[in-house]
């Protein structure tokens, strides 16, 4: 009996204050908190002992940008084009539109990675690159100080494109195209050869700007196309000076300009008066009016001129202006 009471005493009675304290106190660990609202814990502390082992995140080193000196050579840090990397760029960038709150920072920001960046081409880097390239360049010739001189000494303009590829093949079929531009007035012509040249060249001549543009792409390489273009330029020029036998068969309908002597107009006038055109008074100004009218195209002005000249020719009173 005393054993039981001793056991009871040991387990229950002596521990009673402890247990009572545990029962009545706020937490299993009693702290010195004044003003703390006591929360009732119905579960005992043991139940809380078995919690899942938390996933230990791997240790991540602090970002490299923290170690970067402020006067570093940025060109060495970011030598080439690269997607944005937040730990490497020491700027506190933010991007993103959040209706409430601040834009998200650079870490795990897809927007900053999406947009193109020119971190590899900052002004000092560009200067350095230019300085490096300078030794491969020669100075601009002093004699070509303005555009006109350039055009005078270098009338031909050769345009070609080169392409870089990072695919299995480094060649691009578009690289073979060669364009040559030059001004028509730089070539020497007389009237007939100029007309022939323009007919040969056709659409390639732009009458508004005065430039002839020859585009060649029929050969597989650029060099061949260039040679062909040069050949074309030479051939066209010489051909236009050549006079063929059949050119004499050029009829009135082929004429690009209106020449009064060859035309019906002269014949009509002669028939009308029954004399040769030289003998008819006023025929010259009439001829001029007709030539202008035909060559420059119809307009109120040329028509009016024509009308006036006809009136003079036929001896009719001039047009009255009634206001």
């Amino acid at each position: 009996m005393s054993v039981i009471t001793r056991i009871l005493d040991k387990n229950v009675v002596k521990q009673l204050p402890k247990r009572a304290a545990a029962y009545y106190s706020n937490k299993p660990n009693i702290e010195e908190d004044i003003g703390e609202f006591r929360v009732l814990y119905l579960k005992t502390s043991k139940a809380q002992a078995f919690t899942k082992k938390k996933y230990q995140k791997p240790e991540v080193l602090p970002p490299r940008s923290n170690e970067m000196p402020v006067d570093q050579n940025w060109g060495n840090v970011w030598p080439g084009p690269r997607t944005f990397h937040p730990a490497t760029v020491p700027l506190p960038l933010r991007q993103g539109y959040v209706s409430k709150g601040s834009p998200p920072d650079k870490y795990a920001n897809a927007e900053l990675m999406k947009i193109p960046n020119f971190l590899h081409l900052t002004p000092p880097v560009i200067e350095r690159q230019c300085a490096a390239l300078k030794k491969f360049c020669t100075p601009w010739p002093k004699a070509l100080s303005n555009d006109e001189l350039c055009e005078k000494h270098f009338p031909f303009e050769v345009i070609s494109s080169n392409y870089c590829h990072s695919s299995p093949s480094i060649r691009d079929p578009m690289a073979r195209i060669v364009t040559i531009k030059f001004k028509l007035n730089d070539l020497k012509f007389d009237e007939k050869s100029r007309d022939k040249y323009l007919r040969l060249v056709g659409d390639r001549y732009n009458s508004e700007t005065g430039y002839v543009t020859i585009v060649t792409d029929r050969c597989p390489t650029q060099k061949q196309n260039y040679d062909y273009a040069m050949y074309l330029v030479t051939a066209l020029y010489h051909e236009s000076w050549n006079v063929e036998a059949w050119e004499e068969l050029k009829t009135e309908a082929d004429m690009e300009k209106y020449i009064w002597e060859n035309n019906e107009s002269k014949k009509s006038v002669e028939k009308l008066f029954g004399k040769n055109s030289e003998d008819i008074a006023e025929s010259k100004q009439y001829a001029n009016a007709v030539i202008n009218f035909m060559n420059e195209g119809e307009s109120d002005y040329t028509l009016a001129n024509y009308g006036d000249s006809v009136r003079i020719l036929l001896g009719l009173p001039a047009k009255t202006n009634v206001l």
Partner: protein, 379 residues
Amino acid sequence: MLKVVSKEVLGARLPKNIRALCVATHSQKFRTSEDKPSYHSSSNSAQYYKIPQDIRNQLFAHGGIPKSYNIQTKSFAETCLMVREPSLDIINCIKSIDYSKPVNRFVLYGKKGSGKSLALAHVVHYGLETGHLILHVPWVGQWMRYCKEYSNSELKPGNVDINLDAANWLVHFKTQNAHVLSNADLVIGQDYVWSKREKTQKGAHILELIEHGISRVKYASSCVLGLCMEIKELSKKGKCKTMVAIDGYNGFFYPKTRVYTEKKEMVPPSKVTVTEGFLEVTKFDWNNAVCVLTVDEIASAKEDQLSHMPKYLLGKEGFEHLDPFIPVAVNEYTDKEFTSCMEYYRERKWVQPAPGQDEELSFLSGSNPYKLMQICAGL
């Protein structure tokens, strides 16, 4: 004097005839009482003159005045034309031409709806008044594009006739020239053999030729052709002075027509019998006559109506045929003409008067007479 009277007295009750007179004086600005074109001068410019009804019936019963204008004249119960600069110019020139010299050709040109046909009508009236024999083709497009009937020609194999139209035209010609045709001197110079049994003798009066064409529709086109040749000869001999007035002359040179052969192939104008006649008549190898022609965009198909300029419309062939000719521009209304037109409309109670009306309308219509007429129709 009357004007002064009207100012004082206008409000009071007046007998009707005097009030009418007062109104008339006020309207003198845009109307002229001179209804004989030969007395029209630049002082009458931009004024309306009235064509007496009988003359109108004589001249334009079968065409000559454009359709929409015709309807307007019915509404207004009178036929008035505006005296404008182009027709005055031509009349002036005609007054001074030497009829012994080769024929002068005038070509009226202008944008759509600027008043070419009406200018021509004015000149035709002048021709009637001065006793010309009028060869008036009201609208070439009527023949080339809306011909009533076409058939292969008998007398000219390879050509196509447009007989019903030709017959109508002969009637038109007859009514127009009733006064001149009564002259017994007008005789034909050669035989016309129509068929085995029908023949018009040399020396017969020209009326016989015309009658034959009207009655025997089958040969109408050839009659027209013959008529043209005869008139040319007669003018050369000095028996009559002619005025050739053709509206839409470029229709004779436009490559596409709606005249077809019996096989439904398109016939160019050169293969239509009547064309030849009018082409002959517009040459300069005769005298004692004058030609007044118009070239109109509307005579060609819509896709080719790019320009109103005569050379474009006539083409190379037409231009060479007519060269040298005197081009006469028919432009849009000037300010004075525009005001005059509006005054006329208001006087006819066609348009309700409103402030600032003239300016708005001139802007909207671009001073184009036809457009103005269209807009005012709705006001």
